[in-house]
Symmetry: C2
C-alpha cells in the first residue's frame, strides 16, 4: 500500500502546499495575507470565483449566502428525527445527501452548499431550525451554537473562528478532496462529491485529528505531568494526533497563526493552563521526534476556548473545507478525465474448487 505518497495525481491551480518559498497559498495569496486582509466569505469567493471580491462584491456575496440558509421542509423533518447521540459528521453526510434529492444540482448548488452546512449542523443540534441574520458564517455559527445555550459571543471569538475557517478552507489533494475529485471524475453530481468528501474527512487520520488532539491535551491536569506522559506514549508507539504532515517537511505554515490565536483566547477565557500544557506537548514532540504541530493541534485549543463542543471540531472543518472541495470539483469538471488507477495483483493463481 503506497498510499500514492509522492505521486502526482493531476494538476491544480487552486493552492500550493509546501511549494518551495511559497508556503500555503490560495490562488496565489499567502494564507497569512488572507487571514490579515480577508474573511472566510471572501476566501470562499476567491476559491470558487477565482478573485478576491471587491467590497461591494463581498457584500452581495454575503447577502446571497445569508439568503441560502434555508432548509427544505423534508430535510428539516429528517434532521429533527436524527438522535442527539448521532455522530455530527454522519448528520452532515446524510443531510447533504438528502439535500441532493430534494434540490437536485443547479448552478446555485455551489453557493447553497457553502451556506447550508452550518444550518444542517445547528438545526440538528438545537432540534429546531436555526435562522438568524448574522452576516458572516463565523457569527452565524457562534450565534446558532449558543442560541438556546449560554455564553455570549465575543469579537475575539468571531475573529478566531473566522481565521480558523480561512486556514481550513483548502489544502490541495488531501484525502477528502482527492476522493471528491474521483467522484466528480465520473461526472456524478455535486452532492455526491461532497458526500464523499465528508465521509472521507470523518476518519481520525484526516479531519478527526483535531478532536483527537483535544482529547490528548485534556488528558493532562497539570503542565508538569506532560513531558513524561508524552514520552511514555511515544515509547508505547501510541499515535500522537495533531503532529506531522506528509507534505510539509519544515512545519505547517498554518500552525503559528492558530497558536497565536490559541494563546490570546486562552488568556481571555482563563485557560492558560491548557495552553501551557499544549505548548509542552509541542516542545516535547520537537525534542523527542523533531515533529512539528500541524493545523489541527492548536485549532483544537482555539475551538475549545471559544466553547465549541469537541464533537463539532471536525464538522467545523467541513463548514470551511466545503469551499476547497467545491473549487476542486469545478476544476476537475473543467478538464475531466476519469480517475482510475491500476492495482498490483498479489492474490491466488487461477484455480477451480
Amino acid at each position: 500500500m503506497t498510499g500514492l505518497a509522492g505521486i502526482i495525481a493531476g494538476d491544480t491551480a487552486i493552492s500550493t502546499v509546501g511549494k518551495e518559498s511559497a508556503g500555503l497559498t490560495y490562488r496565489g495569496y499567502n494564507i497569512t495575507y488572507l487571514v490579515d486582509h480577508a474573511n472566510f466569505e471572501s476566501v470562499a469567493y476567491l476559491l470558487l470565483y477565482n478573485k478576491l471580491p471587491a467590497p461591494e462584491e463581498l457584500n452581495l456575496y454575503q447577502k446571497k449566502l445569508m439568503s441560502l440558509r434555508r432548509l427544505p421542509e423534508k430535510l428539516l423533518i429528517l434532521l429533527k428525527a436524527i438522535p442527539q447521540t448521532a455522530n455530527p459528521m454522519d448528520v452532515l453526510r446524510t443531510g447533504v445527501s438528502m439535500l441532493g434529492i430534494l434540490e437536485p444540482e443547479t448552478p446555485e448548488s455551489i453557493d447553497k452548499l457553502v451556506a447550508i452546512l452550518p444550518v444542517i449542523l445547528l438545526t440538528w443540534y438545537q432540534g429546531q431550525e436555526v435562522t438568524n441574520a448574522q452576516i458572516t458564517t463565523a457569527d452565524y455559527f457562534l450565534y446558532g451554537l449558543n442560541e438556546l445555550r449560554v455564553k455570549p459571543s465575543d469579537p475575539l471569538f468571531s475573529k478566531a473562528l473566522d481565521a480558523s475557517l480561512i486556514l481550513y478552507a483548502e489544502h490541495e489533494f488531501n484525502a477528502s478532496t482527492f476522493a471528491a475529485r474521483i467522484t466528480a471524475s465520473t461526472l456524478s453530481d455535486v452532492y455526491s462529491c461532497i458526500t464523499t468528501a465528508i465521509g472521507t474527512l470523518r476518519g481520525p487520520l484526516h479531519g478527526g485529528a483535531n478532536e483527537e488532539a483535544m482529547k490528548l491535551i485534556q488528558q493532562f491536569d497539570e503542565p508538569d505531568q506532560v513531558e513524561a506522559g508524552i514520552k511514555r506514549m511515544l515509547s508505547e508507539k501510541k499515535l500522537i494526533m495533531g503532529f506531522g504532515h506528509r507534505v510539509y517537511i519544515n512545519g505547517d505554515p498554518r500552525s503559528p497563526i492558530v497558536k497565536d490565536l490559541a494563546r490570546q483566547l486562552s488568556e481571555k477565557v482563563g485557560k492558560q493552563k491548557l495552553f501551557a500544557i499544549a505548548e509542552i506537548i509541542e516542545n516535547t514532540m520537537w525534542t523527542e521526534k523533531k515533529i512539528y504541530p500541524n493545523l489541527d493541534f492548536y485549532s483544537a485549543l482555539v475551538y475549545h476556548c471559544i466553547g465549541i463542543p469537541t464533537s463539532f471540531f471536525t464538522p467545523l472543518f467541513v463548514v470551511s473545507r466545503i469551499t476547497g472541495w467545491l473549487a476542486h470539483v469545478i476544476e476537475q469538471r473543467s478538464n475531466n478525465k476519469l480517475i482510475r488507477p491500476l492495482a498490483n495483483y498479489i492474490g491466488p493463481e487461477p484455480r477451480q474448487i
Copy 2:
C-alpha cells in the same frame, strides 16, 4: 489531468483485471467458472470471507442475509418521504448514510450492507416495506420489483439476473472502489466508504453507462437504421456508451456471457428486434473503431428484457458491487496507509491585491 491511468496505486488480492491469460478472476476463480458453478451469494461469500462456501455454509449465509433484510423504523419513514421522482442512486446513497446513523458500524454491518441495499431501493419504489422470504438476492429483487406490479417471474429471469450480479460484483481499482478505499484509508466508518462508492458509481462515465447504453439501443426503431446512425454519431464525436474499457485491451471477458443471456432473454420475451439492433451497434463499433462492447452494453438489454426499469440499472450495479467494495474496505484496513497523492501546481505566482 492524468486520471492516474496506468499508475499502480496499491496491492490487491481480490481480483485480476486484464492480467495476461487470467482475464477476470475473483480470488483466483475465473468469472466464467463462477457464473457456471456459483450464485451471487456464494460469490459475495468468496469476496468477503475469502473462500467459496460449502453447500451448508452457503445455506447458512443465505439465511443470514435474509434475516438482515430489515429496515430500522426511522429509515423506513425516511424512504417513504422521498419523492418517487428522485434519482434511485440518490435514494441508495441517502439510505446507506442514514443507516450509518441508526446502526453505527459493528462487525455485522458488512453482511447487513449486502442484504439491505435491495430492501432500501424496493421499499422506496413500492412506498412500503418489501419483506418476502425469497432466498436469493436475485429472486428477492424480482419479487419486490413486481409485487405491486404485473409480470410473473421466470427461472430464466432469475438465472440471468443472478449471473449479472456475479459479473458486476468486483472489478479491482475502478473509480468507485478506489474512492471507497480512500475513505477507508482515513479510518472512517464502513457506511462512509459505501456512501462514497455509491456517489461515485452514479456518474455516467462509470455505473451510469448501462442506462446510457439502453437509451442508445432504444434510439433505433429498426435494425436497418442502425449502421448509418452510429456512423453519424461517431462523425459528430458523440460518446457511445457501453463500449471500450481503459484496462481491457482485447475485449471485456464479461461481455460474451451477458450477450448470450441477452440473446436467450430477447427470444423468450419477443424482443429479438432489440437484440438485432444491439448486435449491429456492436458490429458497427467494431468495423468503425475497433472497440469492443463492455459489460454495460448487453447487461442493459438483459435488464430491459427482464422488465427492470432503466433507472434501476445503475442501482442494480450497486446491489452487486457492494460486495467488491466491502472486500476492498476490509483489505484496505488490513494494511492501511492514508491515500494522499500530490498535485502539480499550475496556478498564479505568489501575489497580493
